[in-house]
């Protein structure tokens, strides 16, 4: 019988996986909560769509493409890969969604990552936005988040965001990279040969840098935003020089008047589905082998859940995962594997060049909000953490991470402060009580 592969996430990794699984002879169900395929990278406004041809795999006869389909739970069984529980609607958050259950011979998890932002005093003020949100707004709606904007944080994502802001007419006051020049250089140049396959990426960054230079936007390393202030909205930010461990150099503070601040401290993989499937993690990402197989038989992972390396690497991983999941001949795909390995090397260099400084929590004050949903402050958390209660009891007591975002924003921060696993979210996508109460018909194979 033909193998059935379910691919969750239709970003570069999931699209690669679906394509390769079909090529390997399998039947594929590809689903994404978004109503368009393409994932983060391609998430752009309607007018930008015209430039893009539809993804071919979504029209393949062997691939059932389900847009607006969110996976809300993975059900582990005694044998075989987990069953995939889906709410599927005209749109993934709208009315009239239906529940379905998919049974597969193999699963490919490709749910991507989301922006990570470290807290600092005032980060909850309106006008402080993630770089990802600013980017989507700029590229999508052609709207700048503000007139006078500062871009700060760490990672190569700072540059494209600043460039897009310039393109939509914002006055970008500067780009502040918290990493010191030394750390950046060490990370980027330790093994230059590993970058050959990623030359495109290097050129991309160079082009962004040139764009900033043309716009006379200063790029400074070893400097970060340590506070945002304002009355009901960000009006000014305090920047400071940071040491290698991100502690503040006293006396280096400067105040800048802004009307928006974009921050990014890298990306956090969306681990709820891998964790629900029982996959082992390694250094905060899903652990995978040469074939992208996770520790759970029949479950593969690809893309940013296994490391942050950009879209081409995510696609290469997806292709390897899909090929293996689809029953393709083992060991094939030499060139793709090489691209994948180069991507992984690039990812570890990125991580090395842009580490989160150990002492960042030094920016926090007792009244700094850590969990925005529940308004739990740093002082409360620190006291509770010192109480020798179990981390779970601390979270229940302080409510940190228990609000509507379910620690998707503050989870990594809580994990550092409390030593908890922030990714345990058996309900991976909100499901309405009414939907939950209507069980789907018997699990169906495929569609």
């Amino acid at each position: 019988m033909t193998r059935h592969v379910v691919v969750i996430g239709a970003g570069p990794a999931g699209l690669g996986a679906a394509t390769a699984a079909v090529r390997a002879g399998a039947r594929v169900t590809l689903l994404d909560s978004a109503d368009q395929a393409g994932g983060q990278y391609h998430r752009m406004p309607p007018d930008a769509y015209e430039a893009r041809r539809p993804f071919r795999i979504c029209e393949s006869e062997r691939c059932d493409w389900w847009p607006g389909a969110a996976v809300w739970a993975l059900e582990r069984r005694d044998s075989g890969p987990p069953r995939v529980h889906v709410v599927r609607g005209p749109d993934a958050d709208g009315d009239g969604r239906r529940r379905c259950v998919l049974r597969a011979d193999a699963l490919v998890l490709a749910p991507g990552a989301h922006d990570r932002v470290l807290p600092f005093p005032g980060w909850e003020l309106p006008g402080v936005v993630t770089a990802g949100a600013a980017q989507v707004l700029a590229k999508g709606e052609r709207v700048a988040v503000g007139g006078r904007v500062l871009v700060a944080g760490t990672g190569p994502f700072l540059l494209p965001v600043a460039a897009s802001l310039l393109d939509v007419g914002a006055h970008v006051l500067g780009v502040l990279e918290a990493g010191t020049a030394g750390a950046l250089l060490r990370g980027w140049t330790r093994r230059p040969w590993e970058l050959t396959g990623q030359a495109g990426k290097g050129a991309e960054l160079a082009a962004y840098a040139a764009r900033l230079a043309r716009g006379r936007v200063p790029y400074r390393t070893g400097r970060g935003v340590v506070e945002a202030r304002g009355d009901g909205r960000v009006e000014e930010v305090v920047t400071a020089r940071l040491r290698g461990d991100w502690s503040v150099v006293p006396g280096s503070e400067q105040v800048l008047t802004v009307d928006a601040l974009c921050v990014t401290h890298g990306f956090t993989p969306r681990l709820e589905l891998p964790v629900a499937a029982g996959c082992a993690l390694l250094d905060g990402f899903v652990a995978v082998d040469e074939d992208q197989a996770t520790s759970v038989p029949g479950v593969y992972a690809a893309g940013e859940v296994t490391g942050i390396a950009g879209a081409p690497a995510a696609r290469a991983e997806g292709v390897v995962a899909g090929w293996t999941a689809g029953g393709g001949t083992p060991g094939r795909l030499g060139a793709t594997r090489r691209r994948r390995d180069e991507g992984r090397a690039f990812a570890s260099r990125l991580a090395a060049a842009h580490p989160i400084g150990r002492r960042w929590a030094g920016w926090l004050r007792p009244d700094t909000i850590v969990c925005r949903c529940e308004e739990t402050d740093y002082g409360t958390l620190r006291d509770a953490a010192a109480s020798r209660l179990d981390a779970r009891a601390v979270r229940l007591g302080t409510r940190a991470g228990l609000g509507p975002c379910q620690a998707r924003i503050c989870g990594p921060t809580l994990a550092e402060l409390l030593d908890t696993n922030p990714h345990h979210r058996p309900i991976a996508w909100p499901i309405r009580l009414g939907e939950l109460a209507n069980p789907p018909a018997e699990p169906k194979e495929g569609t």
């Binding site: 059900e75 109480s387 020798r388 007591g397 409510r399 379910q406 009580l433 939950l436 209507n438 069980p439």
Partner: protein
């Protein structure tokens, strides 16, 4: 004291207050196990006349005096509703028997019910108000109890797992732990659902088994549910047989605005895997009571393992087979509510005071506790 859940912390506090020097050990941190994976209902409504009800009534009297800051103590009262003719007859008879046993159980007419719970279904055949039902935030309550115990001179050793016993002359002299050997005059097993395993490792097995329960949490809502509201089947589920899945609706709101929907009961060992069809049953039951919640998103599900004894009574007292070993466990789905009463009873027995409730029904020497092949 082996185990720092709600039972271990409550007992440590009460013993320390009585002048006993207490060391509390837990293989993890305090209050992170069952106590942080359930709800905090402090109920008299779900118990029929008998020893558990007497312990619950006693415990309910003690709760306000032990509840301090951070426990989120709310004496909000409970409402039990029946939705069928048969259910109405059972509920009415049950409430009458409870009243005879001293429980405040006030029948509500439809108008009274509608003003008490405006969003509740109108398809109700009988409703009873229990003003004495209350709730706490269990992990916060355990922390308050722990802080009080530490304040009275008790010590806590987190990250310390008890592995075995050192017995001589028929007496438990010491326990071997991951942190070395600990000697004491008395050892109390407060290991919750792991009491079966712990007691086996100490050479005096008791039959306590895990009984899995799951709870759903909605996103925060404006006030919609004002009491703790249960369907009358709750009563049946509490007493029922362990093996098959049971679910009855328990709906309550928390101070954070979320609504908790509980809960299921089933024997599944220590298997934590999520089972969507069980969540479906919980949701379906809850919606029968509050159809208006149908469009509300569930943002979280969690569950834990109730420490279950086949005769549905906790185990509180000395082990007849091993001097120096005591048990305070097996509270199934009522350990939060029963914690202060259990602690007082245990302390009275240990210090030789006359207990206020009869301890005999909770003794270790019962068929359900000592039956052969104890799990």
């Amino acid at each position: 004291m082996i185990g720092a859940g709600i039972i271990g912390t409550a007992c440590a506090r009460e013993l320390a207050l009585a002048g006993v020097r207490v060391t509390l050990v837990d293989r993890a941190g305090a209050a992170g196990a069952t106590t942080a994976h359930g709800e905090g209902n402090v109920l008299v409504s779900d118990k029929g006349p008998g020893p558990e009800l007497r312990l619950a009534q006693f415990s309910r009297r003690l709760w306000p005096e032990v509840a301090g800051d951070g426990t989120e103590w709310q004496a909000k009262g409970g409402i039990v509703v029946a939705t069928t003719g048969e259910g109405a007859r059972e509920l009415t008879a049950f409430a009458a028997a409870q009243r005879a046993a001293g429980v405040r159980a006030e029948p509500l007419d439809p108008a009274g019910l509608a003003s008490a719970e405006p969003y509740l279904t109108r398809d109700v055949t009988a409703a009873v108000h229990y003003p004495d039902d209350a709730q706490v935030q269990p992990a916060g309550a355990a922390q308050a109890l722990l802080d009080a115990a530490l304040g009275e001179g008790a010590t806590l050793l987190p990250g310390c797992e008890v592995l075995g016993a050192e017995v001589s002359g028929g007496r438990l002299r010491a326990v071997r732990t991951t942190g070395g050997t600990l000697t004491a005059d008395l050892f109390v097993d407060a290991a919750g659902p792991w009491a079966g395993a712990l007691s086996r490792s100490l050479g005096a097995p008791i039959d306590v088994r895990p009984r899995r329960g799951e709870i759903l949490v909605t996103t925060p809502l404006p006030p919609t549910v004002f009491h703790k509201v249960y369907d009358a089947d709750y009563v049946g589920a509490v007493g029922g047989d362990a093996a098959e899945l049971q679910a009855s609706a328990v709906v309550e709101s928390t101070p954070a605005g979320t609504v908790l929907l509980g809960s299921s009961r089933r024997a599944a060992g220590f298997d934590e895997r999520l089972q969507p069809e069980i969540l479906s049953v919980i949701a379906e039951r809850a919606l029968r009571l509050f159809p208006c919640l149908s469009g509300v998103p569930v943002m979280r599900a969690y569950g834990g393992f109730r420490p279950y004894v086949a005769d549905h009574l906790p185990i509180i007292g000395p082990d007849p087979r091993l001097d120096g070993l005591w048990h305070a466990t097996g509270h199934e789905g009522a350990g939060i509510g029963l914690a202060p009463g259990t602690a007082r009873l245990l302390t009275d027995l240990i210090t030789g005071r006359t207990p206020e409730v009869d301890a005999a029904p909770f003794r270790v020497d019962r068929p359900a506790v000592l039956r052969r092949g104890a799990a």
